[in-house]
Amino acid sequence: MSMAIPYTVEPRPDTGLNNVKIGIWLFLASEVMLFGGLFAGYIILRVGSTDWQPGSAFGLSVPLAFTNTLVLITSSVTMVMAWASLIRKDFSKYRLYMGITVLCGLGFMVIKYIEYTSKFSHGYYPSTHIFLALYFTLTGLHGIHVIAGMGYNAYLWGPGAKMWETAPEQFTNRVEASGLFWHFVDLVWIFLFPVLYLL
C-alpha cells in the first residue's frame, strides 16, 4: 500500500508541475481577487465621492513611500538571489540573501510604523475621512501580508533551513514558493504606492 502523496517534489510528467507550484499559484490567484476587490472599492468610493481628498491633503510622505518602494524592490532581488544560490548549491550565500530579504521586510514595516504614528499624532485616524479609511485599510492589509511573508522567510532562514540537509530539492521548491508570494506582496505595493500617494 503506497501512502506517500506523489509529485510533492518532482513534477508530474503530463502537467510538468509539482503540487506546491500549482497550490501557490492558485493561492496567488485568490489573492489577486482579494486585492482586486479592495482596489474596486477604492475606485467606486473615489468616483462616487463628493469630497475626495488626495493623500497630500493629509501629509502623506512621498519620500518615505518611495524609500519603501526601493526597499521592497531590493528585497525581491535578494529573494531571487537566495533561490538562485540554492540552485547553485551555495547554502551560505542563500543564508546571506535570505537574511537581507527578511531585514528589508522589517525595514519596510519600521517605515510603515513611522508613517502610521505620524498620521495619528496629527489626529488623522481611519474615521477622519474616506481617503484615510482606504489608506489605512489597504496598507494595513498589505502590511499583514508583508509580516506573513517575512515570518515564513525568517522560518526558511532559521529552523526551516534544516531541510536543506535532508531534502534539498524540496527545500529549494519551498523557497521558490515563498519567493512567488513575496513578489506578489511587492507587486501589490507597487500598485498601492502611486494609487495612495501620487494620484
Binding site: G16, L17, W25, V62, P63, F66, T69, L70, I73, S76, V77, V80, W83, A84, I87, E176, G179, L180, H183, D186, L187, I190, F193, P194, L198
Partner: protein
C-alpha cells in the same frame, strides 16, 4: 510560472513605476522648484535606467533555469 519568469515581470513593472514616478516628480519640480523634489526625480530616473540593466544581467545569469 517559475520565480524567474515572475521576477522578470516584476522588474518590468518596477521599471514602469520608476518611469512614471520620474515623470511625476519632474512635474512637481516644475510646479514648486523644491530641492527635495529634485532628489526624488533624479533617484527615480536612475532607478528607471538601472532596473533594465539589472534585468538583462539577471536573464544571462539565470539562463539555465526554466520559465515553467
Amino acid at each position: 510560472m517559475s520565480l524567474k519568469a515572475v521576477h522578470i515581470f516584476f522588474i518590468v513593472v518596477a521599471t514602469a513605476i520608476a518611469v512614471g514616478f520620474g515623470v511625476w516628480s519632474v512635474q512637481q519640480v516644475q510646479a514648486s522648484g523644491n530641492t527635495g523634489d529634485w532628489v526624488l526625480a533624479i533617484l527615480a530616473i536612475l532607478m528607471a535606467g538601472a532596473l533594465p540593466i539589472y534585468g538583462v544581467w539577471f536573464l544571462k545569469k539565470m539562463k539555465k533555469v526554466g520559465y515553467v
